[in-house]
Amino acid sequence: MANTNLYQSLSLIVPEIVLTIALLVLVTADLIFHKDKKSIPFVALAGILLTGYFTLIQIGNYGFAFQTSASAFKHYGMFASDPFSIFFKVIVIVSSLLIVFFSFSSDEIQKITDRIGEYYALIFGMILGMYFMISATDLILIYLSLELLSLSSYVLSGFTKLRDRDSEAALKYLLYGAVSSGLMLFGISLIYGLTGSTNLYIINSLIQSPDVNLFTLAFAVILIFAGIGYKISSAPFHFWTPDVYEGAPITITAFLSVASKAAGFALLIRFVKTTFVSYTDPNGMWQLINVFDWKTLLISISILTMTLGNFSALWQDNLKRMLAYSSIAHAGYILLGLVVFSDQGLKAIFIYFAVYMLMNLGAFLIVMLIANKIGSEEIDDYNGLGFTSPFLGVAFTIFLISLTGLPPTAGFIGKLYLFIALVDAKMIAVAVIALLNSVVSLYYYVRVLKHMYLTSPTKDTPAVSASLPNTILVSALVLATLVFGLYFSPVVDAAESSLFILGL
């Protein structure tokens, strides 16, 4: 590999380098300040802000890093920096930033101050994994980044060790993760055996030739999908989600439900687009290589995912668990954006994710603030809370309405663009099913409101008030949810300009 190539490659992974340095600084700082760890969260905060900055200045600097030496495919590398990856990286880093803020005031995290350095170091491990996942164009790198993310997540989900269920969750997560990554590796090895390459672009050009064994290829892809499907918690790989979400500290639950999911989706989309799309026609429709009836399979999975998610959420009494199922349902909706196989669908996914990040993190934040005070996430403990804690009550209402997808909130815009994409692709029946699913979701979201507002407060109903920083944080999220519901062109424009996926 020539030096110029290496230098160019390094310039493309500056955000990842910054992340790695920040991770090392965190670990070192943890050792140095082992008496007083008050400064550690701020080191983490600085690291995230720096990474965010370097991610943003990466806009415009696009290309492949670590290009292969095989002469015929010289311009394809292991790592792609493109508008698509920047968008997802921004989603990841913004949610990381919010999670750090959440951690500042989370009771659960306050109790483990002595291990706070590890906590943040592991979060950085997760972010690093996600960053590579979003940009990876090589099966080996895909697998490595997935494992980096997963291993950090396993530890974090049982990190607080406050309750038995935490360790149980972590163990389940680990076991389940091991199974799915085993399946995925199997799939990868099959593909390597078929094509002799791990680079997605090379695989793409090879499978366009007529003499590929389509059956084996399709089987391999299904196995790989098992690995990715587990990350985005799509059915039938979603079983870990409710247990882990309920058991993990709430900050980690929120992080898993947004950032980890975003990275998983980014990987899925890039994998599908670079491996199985031969070209994009002028209307923005992706023309698939005829391997297997992807569309029907993905439609079935997404409908199954949202239906299972919504129906299971109906009677959940624990809000974290309810939000876990709701996030499964949302993964189903987002998957529909991929199913249309068009630029418009991708745009809808971008918009949905930006919106989903705001409203979902907002909802988790409220649950966390209330749990800080009352030490419970049970829905019955929310009785009358809307009257005693008007600010949080109203904010929660707005987030839940947005999660349902009703105007004038951002959630409506997310669903609107998704449904437009579906209707434009003549998938009316699917759109109707998704719509009916949102109707079902209305029930369990509004059920919370019923407990908060239609039950009169008693003497014991606690008044939960947020501290000033939290008030600002909640207000910012509420405001963003409302503003993007009315004035959404910035999000749409950003999504529009991030459609480009490198290669092909």
């Binding site: 389940y176 399946l183 059956f215 098992a226 059915a235 079983f239 399979l297 129906f311 109906l314 079902v440």
Partner: protein, 646 residues
């Protein structure tokens, strides 16, 4: 200042947010009042500066668009949030912020001591915000946003005293009535917008109107669009058959009646028709409908006004009647005359309402004019300003109302024919009569109130100063629109100012018959004479010989009864629309369709969902081995599918 026009929208919004969010905590009425009126006052100053700037521009550059951001962009639909600053929108916004500012100031005095003081100012500011969007919007969507916004504010303010009784019901019933009737109009407006988008592929004013000139569109399409838009306008501007909400809207505080239900909001329909003049001009049949509806509304409302005893009711019917005039003008193609009358009417009708508010204030909330009398000596300032406004609305030469009304009557004659003029002139006569009846019964005649309980007093300066300013405007406001007959070579300034807006529409109509000056002066003399004699007769009857009025009402008992009950329109609606709908909804829709079919379906589906979710939840056993099995089964299933599909 043109580029800063968005401030005139944002400032009232800011006022709304401050008063609405923390107004309850401010507690100091002065601060709330200053925030409320100050924001509108500054907006007014900005509009004046923008107006001066526009005046300095050559005529062809006077229409400017201030783009803020792209609001909705999806597929072919592209809607910008942009404001159009041109002659028409400037005129409207001058009225809205100018008169609005005076009414805000007046309200500081009128609402003094009310427990909802902050709420009142918050709503009032929100109203100005919505109204400015309505008049400044550069496309139908922003206009509609404002249109719905003012409807909401109207609803909120009619029901402002939600705990008070109003006539047979409550103020919230009145508010609901206004809202529901307006919805009917809005429905028409929406249909019109859909059809515009369908036909012209845009909702932007400039694009739609230029395409309306050039596209080959069938007259029927134009007719439908215009008709739908007019239904919307009729709802908002209280025309037949949708006028019934306006008299009930008087349940709101009097400054609200002055601002929303006289000077600004109710004129939104007139503005919209005038803005879309080219569409209306392309549909001659609908123009005729507009003119006839305006005319009939004018005379019908005026006749009801003859016998009403509630001071605000009289003014409400008078407003409906004057709005009818404006539509008459628009319907005969005299768009600038309709806006001119809109302006002068805003001055004198706001003044009349505020004067009435001052009287009500001084008479301890009494609104029945039969229980007034001789108030002239107790409230001299209110009397004087009220009197000036009455002269103006009655069309006495030299005051603003004379010029605008005369222009409408002349256009009605020139483009519509003698009958139009005649009915218009009779309406003018009736107007003069009932207005002087009101003045006589209130300020002259003998005192009929209970001296022990009621001690009439003049209102404070914060209320009377706005009255005087409006009185001044009611006198001189007409001089910018002196008809050509008198002003000679300069022509009608107001008409000249608005001319570029209507040029395409007028070119299409191009049917202004040529009439001699002599004819115009003759007709003017006749209508003035009629109005003056009506004034004299009214003064004579209601100050000297009240007996005559009683005799007439006994002699023409049938007519009197008819008028007193407002032609039974409310009752007819009740019997023909409300009652059948209620019965139908109760017997058929509720008891059968809703309870049996919908509820049955919904409950059935819900229990299906419930039991489904019960089964699904059982899958989540919590046992990891089981999860792994299901996962493998999923993969096996996909594999099976794969095999089958090969």
């Amino acid at each position: 200042m043109i580029n800063l026009i968005y401030l005139t929208v944002l400032l009232p919004l800011l006022g709304f947010l401050i008063n609405g969010l923390i107004g309850r905590k401010i507690k100091n009425e002065k601060v709330i009042g200053i925030i409320g009126s100050g924001t509108v006052g500054i907006a007014f100053v900005i509009i004046i500066l923008a107006f001066i700037e526009t005046l300095a521009l050559p005529v062809e550059n006077r229409s400017n668009t201030v783009e803020l951001f792209t609001w909705i962009s999806a597929a072919g639909l592209n809607i910008k949030f942009a404001y159009l600053v041109d002659q028409l929108s400037l005129t409207m916004s001058l009225i809205v912020t100018g008169v609005g500012f005076l009414i805000h100031v007046y309200s500081i005095g009128y609402m003094h001591g009310d427990k909802g003081f902050w709420r009142f100012f918050a709503y009032l500011n929100l109203f100005i915000f919505a109204m400015m969007n309505l008049v400044l919007g550069d496309n139908f969507v922003v206009l509609f946003l404002g249109w719905e916004g003012v409807g909401l504010c109207s609803y909120l303010l009619i029901g402002f005293w939600y705990d008070r009784k109003f006539e047979k019901g409550t103020t919230s019933q009145a508010a609901k009535k206004a809202f529901v009737v307006n919805r009917i109009g809005d429905f028409g407006f929406l249909l019109g917008m859909f059809l515009i988008y369908f036909t012209f592929d845009s909702l932007n004013f400039k694009e739609v109107f230029s395409r309306a000139e050039s596209f080959p569109v069938a007259e029927l399409t134009f007719g439908l669009i215009a008709l739908f838009l007019f239904i919307g306008a009729a709802g908002k501007s209280a025309q037949i058959p949708l006028f019934v909400w306006l008299p009930d809207a008087m349940a709101g505080p009097t400054p609200v009646s002055a601002l929303i239900h006289a000077a600004t909001m109710v004129t939104a329909g007139v503005y919209m028709v005038s803005r879309a003049s080219i569409i209306f001009a392309s549909a001659p049949a609908v123009m005729m409908i507009v003119a006839v509806i305006g005319l009939v509304t004018a005379i019908m409302a005026a006749s009801i006004g003859l016998v009403q005893n509630d001071i605000k009711k009289v003014l409400a019917y008078s407003t409906i009647s004057q709005l009818g005039y404006m539509f008459l003008a628009a319907g005969v193609g005299a768009f600038s005359a309709s806006i001119f009358h809109l302006m002068t009417h805003a001055f004198f009708k706001a003044l009349l309402f505020l004067g009435a508010g001052s009287v009500i204030h001084g008479m301890h909330e009494e609104q029945n004019i039969q229980k007034y009398g001789g108030l002239k000596k107790y409230m001299p300032k209110t009397y004087l300003t009220f009197f000036i406004a009455t002269l103006a609305i009655s069309g006495v030469p030299g005051l603003s109302g004379f010029f605008s009304k005369d222009e409408i009557l002349w256009s009605a004659y020139a483009n519509g024919g003698f009958v139009f003029w005649l009915i218009g002139a009779i309406t003018a006569m009736l107007t003069a009569f009932y207005m002087f009846r009101l003045v006589s019964l209130t300020f002259y005649s003998k005192e009929r109130f209970d001296h022990h309980h009621v001690h009439p007093h003049e209102s404070p300066a914060v209320m009377t100063v706005p009255l005087m300013i409006l009185a001044f405007l009611s006198v001189v406001g007409g001089y910018i629109g002196i008809p050509k007959v008198f002003s000679g070579e300069h022509g009608n300034l107001f008409e000249g100012w608005l001319e570029p807006i209507y040029a395409p529409a007028l070119a299409k109509l191009a049917t202004f018959g040529s009439h001699s000056h002599l004819e115009e002066i003759l007709l003017m003399a006749v209508s003035v004479a009629a109005a003056l004699s009506a004034i004299y007769f009214s003064l004579y009857v209601y100050t000297k010989k009240l007996q005559i009025a009683e005799n007439v009402s006994i002699k023409f008992k049938g007519i009197y009864y008819l008028l007193w009950n407002k032609y039974f329109v409310d009752e007819v609606y009740e019997a023909a629309v409300v009652e059948p709908i209620q019965k139908g909804s109760e017997k058929l829709l509720w008891k059968i369709f809703d309870v049996k079919i919908i509820d049955g379906l919904a409950n059935g589906v819900a229990s299906l969902v419930e039991s489904g979710s019960g089964i699904i939840r059982k899958i989540q056993t919590g046992i990891t081995q089981f999860y792994a099995v299901v996962m493998m089964a999923g993969i096996a299933f996909a594999l099976l599918w794969l095999i089958l599909s090969l």
